[in-house]
Each structure stands twice: as C-alpha cells, then as structure tokens.
C-alpha cells in the first residue's frame, strides 16, 4: 500500500477502457434480431457441443425444419453445466419464448427449470434424456432398452454360445443403464441355459475408452482369451475393447458392438474390427422436435406413437428410428444419412 501501488488506477482504467471498446466492437456485429411479427418463438437447449451430433445433427436439422415452419429459434448449448443451463432457461423465458425444447445436462437436475418455465406458462418438450418426474408435454428420444435388445439380438444370432463381456457406459446416465438392460433382456434365456457366460459386466466412468480397454484386457487375461463377444455402451468404449483385443492378436475375431456409428467406428466396421454400431437418426429427432414444438405452440395435439412413464405421469413419446450399421448396410446408410456418414475421413 505505497505510492507505487497507486499507479495502478490509471493503468487499469486505460486497459479496461480498451477491453470495453473491443467488446463493443465485437458485439455490434451480433446484434440480436427482434422479430416484430408474431412468429412462434422456440428455445432449443443442447447439453454441449462436445459430441458431433448436437450441433451438426440435432440442432442443424431442428433449425432447418423450424425455418420451414416459420418458427424463430433461440438455440444455446449449456457446456455440460447445470447452473449455466438454469441461467439460459431464465434468459430464454425473459426473451419471451413460447415453447422450450430442453435437453437436460443432468436429467435429475432439470425439474427446477421446468418449474421456471411453468411459472411463465411456457410448455416444455423433453429432448433425448428423459427427465425424472418432469411435468413436460412430450418426450423425444430413442428407446435405449429396445436399442440394446436389437444389438444383443444380432450378437446372439452370430454367437449363440460362449463367453460374453458387457462394457457399459457411464452409470449415472439412463441411456447407459437402459442399453445394458436391453442387452440382458436378450441374453437372459441363454445365460439361464448356460450357453452364454457373462465373464465381465461393468459400467465405465465417463464412457472412458481407457477404462473399457482395461476391463476387456482383464477379462481376456482371466479367461485365457476365450471371449466371443464384447457388447459396449457406445463407440468410445468399443474403441477400448478393440485395442485390448488387437493387443492379444484377436482383432476381428471377436464380435464387438458399439453405439452411434461415429466416423471412427465406421472405419473399424469396414476393417472388420468392429461388427456393428447402432445408429440413431438424430436428424429425424431434430425434425420431429421442431414439428412437435410447432404443434404445441399452436395448441394442436402431438402425434406420438407411445407413452413413457417418467415417474410423474405418462408422457407422449415420439420414438426415434435406430438400426444396426454393419459392413453390409454401411453404403446404404451413407446414402440415406449423408450428413452423418459423409463426415468420415
């Protein structure tokens, strides 16, 4: 606290001034457009942009469909932060949205957001992750149990007997648990008969490729490399399984499955190192969400094929198409979904 320190005021004043001016210049370019007409205004919140799908599939196709329907879209991604998402919901409500399409960062922490929307009389459409006990108008998502069953069906028809490994995803997500449940639904009769033995069945923290690799390595060590299939929670965990198998010279000899059909998974399928990866039509999901938001905004009924109980009530459920991508249908899939499969290197 001497005179020397006191100089700081001038310097800080100047630099803050520069910062302020720079900010001004940056922001003027992004002046928000405020539509004067009575367009339907829909808020779309994505959980993050870390995975390829959110920005390039879900949001892109939502916005495209919204433009066709004449909806104004406010889109934000929550950087995987619950508190940022809470602020974004408040700010969207301030901007006067008519409908909110919410992909929760944390499906167990989203009820406060729904309540805020309700206070502002804004209906909420629940996107991708089912919100526990959420008072929402409808849910869009794949049926992860059914997806797990579809994958396991393909595995048991190729290998009706032998040692199996399940490398499931992050335990705290419903999709990881439900996918595994789907696997087990199909495997149960085989396990009871004793034809199939589940030699390793674990969840992998944060969908970690590394931990999946370690799990499969250990399973191979314990069973003297006698494993016929590895069922994985997503493509990331499947990469770990493939690495573990290759290290033992088993690449391509064991049936490995993944979920999402990421570009790298497509490559591994082509090489025969992975047997299949389940693909969900995220484009269709974005399109259906925009249509549902439009219907809700107009006060019209939602076309849903099923209902799902989220603990509070039966919610109309718009199910999204999914299918197994294998060597045989990879080319067809590339034609049907170029926005996803064209991304491969």
């Amino acid at each position: 606290m001497t005179d020397k320190v006191e100089k700081s005021g001038i310097t800080r004043r100047h630099t803050l001034g520069i910062a302020g001016a720079g900010l001004l210049a940056a922001l003027v370019n992004f002046k928000a457009v405020h539509a004067q007409d009575k367009k339907l205004k829909v808020g779309l919140i994505m959980p993050n942009y870390d995975q390829l799908r959110w920005k390039n599939a879900d949001q892109a196709f939502f916005e495209k469909q919204a433009a066709e329907l004449g909806i104004e879209v406010l889109a934000q991604a929550s950087n995987a932060s619950e508190s940022l998402q809470a602020s974004q919901v408040e700010n969207m409500l301030t901007q006067g949205i008519d409908v909110l399409v919410l992909t929760p960062v944390n499906a167990n922490a989203a009820n406060a957001l729904i309540r805020k929307a309700k206070q502002a009389s804004v209906p909420v459409i629940n996107y991708n992750f089912l919100i526990n006990k959420g008072d929402v108008v409808c849910f869009l998502g794949r049926d992860a149990v059914e997806m797990g069953e579809k994958i396991a069906q393909a595995v048991v028809s190729a290998h009706p007997k032998g040692n199996y490994v399940i490398a499931a995803g992050e335990e705290s997500t419903s999709v990881a648990k439900e996918t595994r449940q789907g696997f087990l639904n199909v495997l149960k009769p085989f396990l009871d008969k004793g034809d199939i033995k589940l030699v390793s069945d674990q969840f992998n923290k944060n969908w970690s490729t590394d931990s999946a690799r370690a799990q499969v390595e250990n399973a191979l060590t314990k069973n003297n490399n006698d494993v016929v299939a590895v069922l994985c929670g997503n493509d990331g965990t499947a990469y770990g399984a493939v690495q573990a198998l290759q290290a033992q010279g088993l690449g391509g000899k064991v049936f490995v499955t993944g979920v999402d059909a990421e570009p790298r998974a497509q490559e591994l399928i082509k090489q025969g190192l992975m047997a299949l990866s389940n693909f969900t039509a995220f484009d269709q999901m974005g399109v259906e969400a925009a249509k549902a938001a439009f219907a809700v905004g107009q006060g019209k009924p939602i076309e849903a094929s099923a209902t799902v109980n989220n603990g509070l009530k039966d919610v109309p459920w718009i199910k999204i198409l999914n299918f197994n991508v294998t060597k045989d249908n990879l080319d067809q899939a590339s034609k049907d979904f170029p926005w996803w499969f064209a991304k491969q290197g």
């Binding site: 606290m1 006191e6 700081s8 408040e90 922490a109």
Partner: protein, 401 residues
C-alpha cells in the same frame, strides 16, 4: 484503528490534496475512487447490452434474474478477497460448494431434518472444510494452492462417493431460499439500512481523518462514494419493487458484502490482512499473529461454502455431485477484474463484487442476444486477460520489466 491502518491511510491521503473536481482524475487513480473506472465500464456494458437486446437487459425481470445468476459467485468472491489479500488462494470452490449442496440435500431428504437443522448442518460442514484448510495452511505451512487443489480433487471425489454419483433431490422446504422474496417495504428498509450504514461509516472516517489533521476531501471520501452507493441502492429498490421484491440470495450477498467490506476497511483485523499480503516478513516482525488471521479467513470461507451450497441446492432444486466445475476460476477472475491482486496486499470487496457482476452481465446479456456460447467464452476470456494485464502493470516492479 491499529497503527498499521493509520499509516496506510496516511500514505493514501497525503497525496490527495484538495477536494475540487479538477483533481478528479488524480482522485480516481488514488484511494477511494479507484473503483470508478470499473463502475464506468460496467455502466457502458449495461448500456450496450440494453441497446443490443432491444431493451430487455435492463428490464426489472432480467435484472432480478441476473441477481440470482450472480449470487453464488458474488457470495464466494467476497470471501475469496479476504483470502487473496493476505496472499493466499482457494481453488476448491467448485467441489466444496457442490459438496455442501449435496450435504444440504441429503440432510433434508434422507435424514429428514427440519429446514433450520439442514441449514446448520450445511454451514457446519462448510466450516469443517474451512478449518481443515486452515489447519494445513496455517499450522502445517502447506501452500494454500496445494491444500485447496487437494480439496478440489478429494472433496469432489467424496461427493461422488456419498451420492453414489447420483443427483440427490432435496426436500422441498429448502426451496424457500430461492423462492422467497422480501416484500416491497422490507426490501426498501434493507436497502436503506445498507446505504445509511455505509454513509455513516464514510462520514465517520472523514471526521476521523480531519480530526487527526490529515488533509482529506469531503467529496472523495463521502460525497462521491455515498452518492454512487445511493444510486445503486435506489436502482436495486426500483427493480425489486417493480418485479417480485428482493430475492433472498441477494439479501445474503448484501449481508456478506457489508460484513466483509466492513471487516476489511474499518477493523484492525482487516487492515492487518493487507499488511500480511503486502509484506509477510514485516507483518510478522510487527507482531501480527499471521496464523490466527489466516485461520480466521479460511474458516469464514468455509461458512461461505455452506451458504453458497444452500443457495445452489435451492436454485437447481437438486444437488448434482458434479455441479459447478470451474466455479473457483470464475470467482478468482471476478476478484482480479475487481482489482484484487493475485500476489496479495491489494483488493476490495466492492471491486470484486462489481467484477462478478460485470462477468455475469456479459454472460447474461450475450445469452439474451442468443450468441453461441463459444463467442461468450471468447469475450469473457478477453475481458479477464485485460484485467489481469492491468493488475500486473499496477504491481509495477514486482513482475520485473
């Protein structure tokens, strides 16, 4: 007031002659009005946001939202200033606040404690962590960077273990913290009290200086600060009265700011914190009990973990064990933008809170403009960079040139 406090004031005021507006630039770079540039920047940002959002930004509704969005950072940044002034740092905030939220949720929902006991348990939990930090830093002499980094990892892990990595829902009565707003009359009373107390303290300081024969300008000690705080209080009053009243978390912020601001400016304890940060050796030789002072600030910070955890659990109506990652960096950034030095010895609570409001205003405004979050990060990052650059320049020779 202690000796060290008196000498500090003397050093500031002897350079500060006369009380006319001609000396305003000089007064701004010295002493009391050091915050004025920051306030001006905040005002400019608000005006720009008001324009760019087509009048939404300064609506009572949005300002009320903004106050709720900034509350947790503002609460913690007040405590962070107390820690940073004597030259320490706290990197554990994100983890400890999330853990406090988990404790609050579990106490209410799983152990079915009544609300007041939940609050006591949560604050107690925070205090225990604060004392844990104090023990390692003040007694075992481990650098605070390492101790709190250890907590960042360990306490986050602890939350995941006790919750089994699942998000806990609190008992509904805790929502009273986020849903309660003071009535209009009560809001006005609280704000008037806040302003009056500030005015009286400034007046007392001016009188003390004059009586001690220190030349002191009434304008810079009482006039401008009291007027600006008055304008701020009136603004908050108008907003609070025209929307839903003063939200309870904002009352917490005001109380913590008033308490820490008073501690730092008007008590020997606070002035000694500056002395410790300015020159630890000299402070020790001057007979300051560094251990006791450091323990006090970390214990106080512990209470703030608990308080912020309560606000968080009420705001999210859930306690995700992985919540608030990176909060510690936001809090430190807010303090630094507000003029707190990372090297210790310098900083004010008011500055830090304005820094927090500035950062949250940028986020809120850009979110209202519906700017993609990537651009929001770029802007906030640049603002932080400029502020830290200014902080380094302000320290002069310390960094070498």
């Amino acid at each position: 007031m202690s000796m060290s406090a008196r000498t500090t004031l003397t050093a500031q005021t002897t350079t500060n002659k006369g009380g006319t507006f001609r000396n305003l630039p000089e007064m701004m770079s010295h002493g009391e009005l050091r915050l004025l540039p920051l306030i001006i920047v905040l005002m400019v940002v608000w005006m720009v946001m008001q324009y760019l959002t087509g009048g939404l930004f300064l609506s009572a509704r949005n300002l009320t939202n903004l106050s709720g969005q900034v509350a947790i950072t503002a609460l913690l940044t007040s405590g962070a200033v107390l820690i940073m002034i004597p030259g320490f740092i706290d990197l554990s905030l994100g983890a400890t606040v999330a853990a406090a939220a988990v404790v609050a949720a579990m106490a209410g929902a799983q152990f079915e404690l009544p609300l007041w006991q939940t609050i006591v348990v949560t604050l107690g939990f925070g205090l225990v962590i604060g004392l844990w930090h104090a023990f390692w830093i003040a007694w075992m002499k481990v650098p605070s960077f390492i101790v709190t980094l250890g907590s960042l990892l360990a306490i986050r892990g602890l939350s995941l273990v006790i919750t089994n990595a699942e998000t806990i829902s609190p008992s509904p009565d805790i929502l009273v913290i986020s849903d309660t707003s003071l009535s209009a009359t009560l809001s006005i009373a609280v704000l008037m009290g806040f302003w009056l107390a500030f005015a009286l303290l400034q007046l007392r300081e001016w009188r003390a200086r004059t009586q001690a024969g220190i030349q002191s300008s009434f304008l810079s000690v009482v006039g401008i600060p009291v007027t600006s705080v008055g304008i701020f209080a009136c603004g908050v009053m108008v907003v609070a009265v025209s929307y839903r009243g003063l939200p309870l978390p904002v009352v917490f912020v005001l109380a913590v700011v008033a308490l820490t601001g008073w501690l730092l400016r008007y008590t020997a304890f606070g002035r000694r914190l500056y002395a410790i940060g300015g020159n630890r050796q000299a402070a020790l030789l001057a007979g300051i009990n560094i251990r006791a002072h450091v323990s006090m600030v970390f214990a106080f910070m512990g209470l703030l973990y608990g308080l912020a955890g309560l606000v968080l659990v009420a705001r999210l109506d859930s306690a995700p064990p992985g919540a608030m990652q990176g909060l510690e960096l936001n809090v430190i950034a807010a303090a630094v933008i507000g003029g707190t030095s990372l090297m210790g010895g310098r900083g004010t609570v008011a500055g830090a809170v304005i820094g927090a409001i500035l950062m949250e205003s940028l986020s809120n405004g850009m979110s209202l403009m519906n700017l993609p979050s990537a651009y929001q990060s770029i802007t906030v990052g640049l603002v932080l960079l400029f502020a830290v650059y200014a902080d380094m320049r302000g320290r002069g020779g310390r960094f070498g040139d």
